[in-house]
Amino acid sequence: MKVHFKIVYLIGFLLLSFVLMLVSGLEGGLPTQTIREKIYLPIERLQSARFHLQGWLTGLIINLQENRKLQEENRLLKRELAELEFREKNYYQEIIASNQRLKKMLGFKEEHTLQLLPVEVTAYPPRSFFKVVFISKGKREEMKKNMVVVNAEGLVGRIVEVYPHQSRVLTILDERSKVGVINQRTRDLAILRGKELEGVCELQYLLGKASIEIGDKVVTSGVGGLFPKGILVGTITHIRKNPHRLFLEVQVTPSVNFGRLEELFVIKE
């Protein structure tokens, strides 16, 4: 009798949780995100406090060894270098490739210059399989949903939630993330999807006849208008052809080292 009571109790709670999941997973279900954006302030404050404390302690240790002025100069130079590196790896390479192609077509298209706003990673969410990060700028700094986030190495992700002083970024490693990409060499279009814990991404909807090779660079295609064209995403590291399937199974290793995210840029066009 007691065992039955236990089981009923347990199943009751599990069912309640499951119903909550079903309802909040529905389109127009529970407005969890809206509620969170309104009540997130205490967590935001804690995350900021931790971030500033960490920064302060790091600075204190460095200052014991180095001159403060040199440190500031170094920080600014690093930021400038990261911006230049990003432009060189993503923007300029793509310009060269586009230029060659366009020259052949005797047409010229003027590219927009990307405006990069420096931000820092303030925190990672607790007990989460979902690959999101929090950045140091929010609504007050004119951050908006779907703004693209990059670093010197390439594409990081896009903003999915905006709080007063912070924003939540969904990285390309998350399985909910989908990015329109193109093979820089062969110009084959595909969709890039994250594979979470494996730390890689996969290309979807790439036809079996595509002539891709291991080592090919993958950049954003610009299709859909969410991600600007030409941002480096990663390199193809594994290709599997299945004769029974229409599409190739392709693995892409991101160019960004997600284990060490520090200074990022938000693209503001």
Partner: protein, 161 residues
């Protein structure tokens, strides 16, 4: 009333530790899970019923602030709280090895349940691929923390009597 106050204080501490200590750990690193530890220890100390209740409440709080799906952590932590209390009922309470084993089992159960539910709700790929490095590392961290709490608790009780 006193119990509720203790719960509120411990939950706040666990959340603060999660946001401040764990929040600094980057993607791809194993992390300790203070919320899970709170639920395991509560279930261990107070039995399956309170473990289940505390697991549900703590999980729901985590979902409100961090999860894309309300009820995700509530589901897994309810199970964890129940399991912890259930194990405690069947074994000798003061055995540290059993507490560590229970913590390890609860960590795995939590990781497995989260993976399975994420897969069911189309947030991630199949489950087996997830039972890897990170869950193991997190389980080790959690066991370490549980050991520390056991030692502190033993010291505290020794002082009390």
């Amino acid at each position: 009333m006193k119990k509720l106050a203790v719960f509120a204080i411990l939950t706040t501490i666990a959340f603060v530790l999660e946001v401040t200590v764990v929040g600094g750990r980057g993607i791809g690193w194993g992390r300790p899970d203070f919320l899970l530890i709170l639920v395991v220890v509560w279930g261990w100390e107070r039995g399956w019923k309170e473990g289940l209740l505390v697991g549900f409440a703590v999980g729901l709080l985590n979902d409100i602030f961090f999860s894309p799906l309300l009820g995700l952590s509530a589901f897994s932590l309810s199970l964890v709280g129940y399991l912890s209390g259930e194990i405690r009922e069947r074994v000798y309470e003061e055995n540290v090895v059993l507490l560590l084993m229970a913590t390890g089992a609860c960590s795995f159960l939590d990781g497995f349940t989260l993976s399975l539910l994420s897969f069911l709700f189309h947030f991630s790929s199949p489950v087996l691929g997830k039972l890897t490095y990170l869950i193991l590392i997190s389980a080790l961290y959690n066991c370490g923390l549980a050991f520390l709490i056991f030692v502190v608790r033993g010291f505290w009780k020794g002082r009390m009597y």
